[in-house]
Amino acid sequence: MSVSLGAFVAVSAVLFFIGTAGVLVRRNAIVILMCVELMLNAANLALVAFSRRSASVDERGSVFVVFIFVIAAAEVAVGLAIVLAAYRNRPTVDVDEIQRMKG
């Protein structure tokens, strides 16, 4: 018996929430970025699962995944650029110490 769709989505959900927990708990900016990537992967997994396993193979899910690849890559690049720029200001990547935007 092949694996049901629900199982794939469950895995995706678990991975997503692991990533969320990481974003909330960790202080290092780069680790937070990594956790965000995990979340994106979880979303990709769910999308592809739905795309391949629905009544007719609807490749629009997969197309969306391709676009998510693009955006994730761009986001990592820019995010890291920001972290580097902040690091140049004060040599820390600890988000708790970057509080200059306090309102």
Partner: protein, 635 residues
């Protein structure tokens, strides 16, 4: 010429614009010439109009354009040219012209010269609008305009505090009267559905409203007239208005603006006649004011103040005439009074000019030889004021008191006769103290000099009018030119002319003449022979004298009762504004700041907090979606 009647106010308006805009930098003293020429030209056109009306065009309406056309409310800028308005046009323009010429000399050294002529021209414009209007609203425009110019001109020398205080007082009192006028005007519209003289007066006849409504209208309009024409209770601005330059006093506060109230009531004769007790009130107020002001004039020392109270008194006579049903007499007296009172004022101005600005008669005396032209012209004017024949004042005043008697108001007649005695007394006293006797201040006396020709020529011209006018247009009494001319425009529809017999007229004339002569003789006795000595009389009369000198303490009364009450009200309004209105605005601002301060705390700057918020929002979405999918929330 009647079709060009709109030129008459247009020329002074142009003079105003030219003097006002160009006078300061470029035209300077030329403004006087321009303004005088403009008014002179208006006078010529007014003469033309008058002749045409005389020739038979007794009622023309020259419409300029439709001003307001909203549903039933239609008001045009249009002129009503009939005997009454043509007479007024003539009086206003001719007297204004002479005063303008005089002012060229009197104001020659004043650095506000161009401003003076600008305001004076504007005034003449507004006054002409007032007398030419064919409806109550346009008349009101002129009414307000002359009030404004009066304010501007009384406060002409605003560098000193007294003039602008007086100007404020004049304007405020006028305004109080205007409230009455406005009520009357609104009621007229509500009742008659029109503000046009023609329409309203026609409808009063055909379909008169109730007596109480008519009385309300009449009293309201008359209240406005008391403000403008300085009758009780709104008279006390006029003596204070003497702070303005003397030509202003002559023009505005003797000959023209203050007569606007008389003109209004005369014009509205059909309304007043139908309004029962209203005319009686007019007459009583006029008579009481006349005697009241005359008593004050007996003891004043400032020559201009004497003339001011005299004006109030004479205006009272005019209202008395209106009240007893003799509007023609009122207008007649208006015309003659314009001439001799203007002459008295201009003459006073000449005297003041001669003694270097002094206005207190106690410092004058013996100026007869130094100022011959002024002396003789003022003598003629004073005689007219005292109603000596054949001078103008005799004919008009005699007619008023005569009408009071023959139309059945003996008490008012008695008041009028007694006031005539007082009038003759105070004018003789004033002239004596100024021109005769020993000079009381030799320094002033030595420097006194007759005024230049530009000032004396108008004096002489006015003197001619003073001598000739009454006889020329008022003879024979009750049947002269002026009566035949004016009666059609002020006749009371349905009421026949009450012509007294010749014998009664002659007797009444002798009585008024005797009254005048009596007053003069008493004055001469007191001041020439010192029997009784005026100083002794004053001391003997003690408190009565003090009351008179302090003008019955009316100003103080008004100040305490009304002004202080208003001040309390203002205090309340101010407190309301500061605490409640501003308070609301301040509280709202405070609320915004509070809210902002609270919301600001969300921006902690800590990335972790932001992430938490995002996740929290995510959870809310999950719950919402889950609930929707499970059917917990319906769509």
């Amino acid at each position: 010429m009647i079709q060009n009647v709109w030129l008459i106010p247009a020329l002074p308006l142009a003079a105003f614009l030219i003097s006002g805009l160009l006078g300061r930098r470029w035209l300077h003293h030329w403004t006087g010439v321009i303004a005088s020429t403009a008014v002179g030209a208006s006078a010529v056109i007014a003469i033309g109009v008058f002749l045409e009306v005389l020739g038979g065009k007794t009622r023309t309406i020259v419409s300029l354009y439709e001003w307001i056309g909203v549903g039933d409310f239609r008001v045009n800028v249009a002129a009503l040219v009939d005997p009454l308005s043509s007479v007024m046009l003539l009086v206003v323009t001719v007297v204004s012209f002479l005063i303008f010429v005089y002012s060229n000399g009197y104001m020659a050294h004043d650095h506000g010269f161009y401003r003076f002529f600008a305001w004076m021209s504007l005034f003449v414009f507004a006054m002409l609008i007032l007398v030419m209007a064919d409806n109550f609203l346009l008349l009101f425009v002129g009414w307000e305009g002359v009030g404004l110019c009066s304010y501007l001109l009384i406060g002409f020398w605003f560098e000193r505090p007294a003039p602008y205080v007086a100007a404020k007082k004049a304007f405020v009192m006028n305004r109080i009267g205007d409230w009455g006028y406005t009520i009357g005007m609104i009621t007229i519209f509500l009742v008659f559905n029109s503000l046009n003289f023609t329409d309203v007066f026609a409808r009063v006849e055909e379909n008169p409203p109730t007596q109480s409504v008519l009385t309300l209208i009449a009293i309201a309009l008359f209240f406005g007239a008391t403000g403008k024409s300085a009758q009780l209770p709104l008279y006390s601005w006029l003596p204070d208005a003497m702070e303005g330059p003397t030509p202003v006093s002559a023009l505005i506060h003797a000959a023209t603006m203050v007569t606007a109230g008389v003109y209004l009531v005369a014009r509205s004769t059909p309304l007043f006649a139908a309004a029962g007790p209203a005319l009686g009130i007019v007459g009583i107020v006029g008579a009481v004011t006349a005697i009241f002001a005359a008593t004050i004039a007996l003891v004043q020392f400032d020559i201009k103040r004497v003339m001011a109270y005299s004006t109030v008194s004479q205006l009272g006579y005019m209202f008395l005439a209106l009240g007893v049903g003799a509007p023609v007499a009122a207008i007649f007296h208006l015309a003659t009074h314009a001439f001799f009172k203007a002459l008295l004022f201009l003459g006073s101005g000449s005297v003041i000019h001669a003694v270097g600005g002094e206005q207190d008669m106690r410092k004058m005396g013996g100026l007869r030889r130094k100022l011959p032209v002024t002396y003789w012209t003022m003598l003629l004017a004073g005689g007219a004021l005292a109603a000596l024949p054949p001078l103008a004042g005799f004919w008009s005043k005699d007619e008023i008191v005569g009408a009071a008697f023959t139309n059945g108001y003996p008490i008012l007649w008695a008041i009028g006769i007694f006031t005539a005695v007082l009038t003759a007394f105070y004018v003789t006293r004033a002239l004596w103290m100024t021109f005769h006797g020993e000079p009381r201040d030799h320094h002033l006396h030595d420097h006194a000099h007759e005024s230049p020709g530009v000032m004396t020529l108008p004096l002489m011209a006015l003197a001619v009018g003073t001598v000739v006018l009454g006889f020329a247009i008022g003879w024979p009494p009750e049947a002269g030119f002026i009566h035949r001319f004016l009666t059609p425009s002020v006749e009371i529809p349905g009421e026949s002319e009450h012509v007294a017999e010749v014998g009664t007229i002659v007797v009444l004339a002798i009585v008024s003449l005797a009254a005048g002569v009596l007053g003069i003789l008493v004055a001469l006795a007191m001041y020439v022979r010192r029997r009784p000595d005026p100083v002794a009389v004053a001391r003997a009369a003690g408190p009565y004298y003090r009351i008179l000198v302090n003008k019955y303490y009316i100003d103080e009364l008004y100040d305490h009762r009304f002004v202080d009450a208003m001040r309390a009200l203002f205090g309340i309004a101010w407190a309301f504004d500061i605490h409640i209105v501003d308070g609301i605005a301040n509280r709202l601002g405070w609320l915004a700041v509070l809210g902002g301060g609270g919301l600001r705390r969300v921006q902690t700057g800590i990335v972790g907090n932001y992430a938490l918020t995002i996740v929290a929002g995510l959870l809310v979405l999950l719950v919402a979606y889950g609930g929707y999918a499970a059917g917990v929330f319906t769509r």
